[in-house]
Assembly symmetry: C3
């Protein structure tokens, strides 16, 4: 039996959604890789130019690539000596083919510049992801920080090469 184009197009739309899920997941991962490994180009590439990054206290709310640049270079990287974000529980709900609301949770371990104690931060990210011309980026990320505390009696350091 010969097929008509409709069957293939229906299947293609399902493949596009799976690819969109993968692309959105990559944005969530590159947020961590870009920020923690201090790869600014990677970090900036996940945001639309007209984005909003609403971190809330103690850091603030930032708009556009200019705001992202200021937040990272002037506020956050100077505040952290090192940081390690682990994102999980990503759940994506599509509003339409080019817009998705997603939520994920993050656990961050790190050390601030002005305090030798290790810190733990737990937060939830709620995102508006948007595709333009087939490319997904973050349009808005709202951060809810659940806790941000020193990890009693713990400091972070890499293993020593004893050779």
């Amino acid at each position: 039996m010969a097929l008509d184009a409709t069957s293939l197009e229906a299947l293609q739309a399902r493949v596009v959604e799976l690819e969109s899920r993968s692309a959105i997941r990559d944005l969530v991962s590159d947020y961590c890789h870009g920020f923690d490994k201090r790869d600014f180009d990677r970090f900036l590439s996940i945001w639309w130019e007209d984005c909003i990054w609403n971190i809330g206290p103690p850091f603030g709310r930032f708009e556009g690539h200019r705001g992202i640049t200021e937040a990272v270079r002037s506020v956050l990287w100077p505040a952290w000596r090192e940081s390690h974000h682990l994102t999980t529980n990503l759940k994506i709900d599509f509003s339409d083919a080019d817009n998705a609301r997603s939520v994920c949770d993050v656990d961050c371990v790190g050390t601030l510049t002005d305090d030798p104690a290790a810190q733990i931060v737990g937060a939830t990210y709620r995102d508006h992801m948007q595709a333009r011309d087939g490319r997904w980026r973050i349009l808005q990320r709202d951060v809810t920080i659940h806790y941000f505390n020193p990890l009693g009696g713990t400091t972070l350091s890499p293993p020593q090469n004893t050779s």
Copy 2:
């Protein structure tokens, strides 16, 4: 060359499996979002009515939506002041198109109602996921808790808005 329906159907079956993997991953995420953010409808929606939730000590074994409701509302939410589950390492093995065994690991940070110290819990979830009429839910979840301990000298609190 015209195609026959067989080629498209074979490809369609592969797309269905990828979609099933995505749906199962969503269940694992919504377990955390529903429980930690105290969204009971979200939490209940991941379980089949005839489910088993076998947490083991110190919490117990619960059956059906009635058991889930009792466990969450009468045992677990009262026990935890706050909890933050992070699930990772999800591995799914399909028994057939409508049944899968999956395993994932979880790290939970939280505070109990009757103890100000932060707690850390590490566990493994082993699940029987089942699709009925194309919809995936959890039929059985077995929990193995590896550790459940106070995090020495640490308490959890959100950052203060100093503005």
Copy 3:
């Protein structure tokens, strides 16, 4: 309208890439399940025979299935009483259909054999994943350990069955 084989083949290639992403994600998960649950067959099955596992200090560099076997059985399992790896932030970039570079981050909580204190380890894995005859395995994994420290005042133990 009848379809030609080209349209279906193009879609098939996109499905293959999504399946490859799923298979690579499974390798990353089975590394943790195999190692932490001491399932050696599962752990070995993720590596190509001519693999390289470059852990760096304090553990070293291991080659081939012989090296993996030595590392796990003679070095790592004896060193750890228990370990719990949580991998996140997996980002996969394909060089071609059969080769991918991936990066992920890991948080490990565990206890060493010769020290009762809980340890936390944060690291990044950079991998060369390779498919041979349609099967994906790890060809090379380079580990960068960011921190490896005792978790002050914390020890790990499972809950007691008080029944």
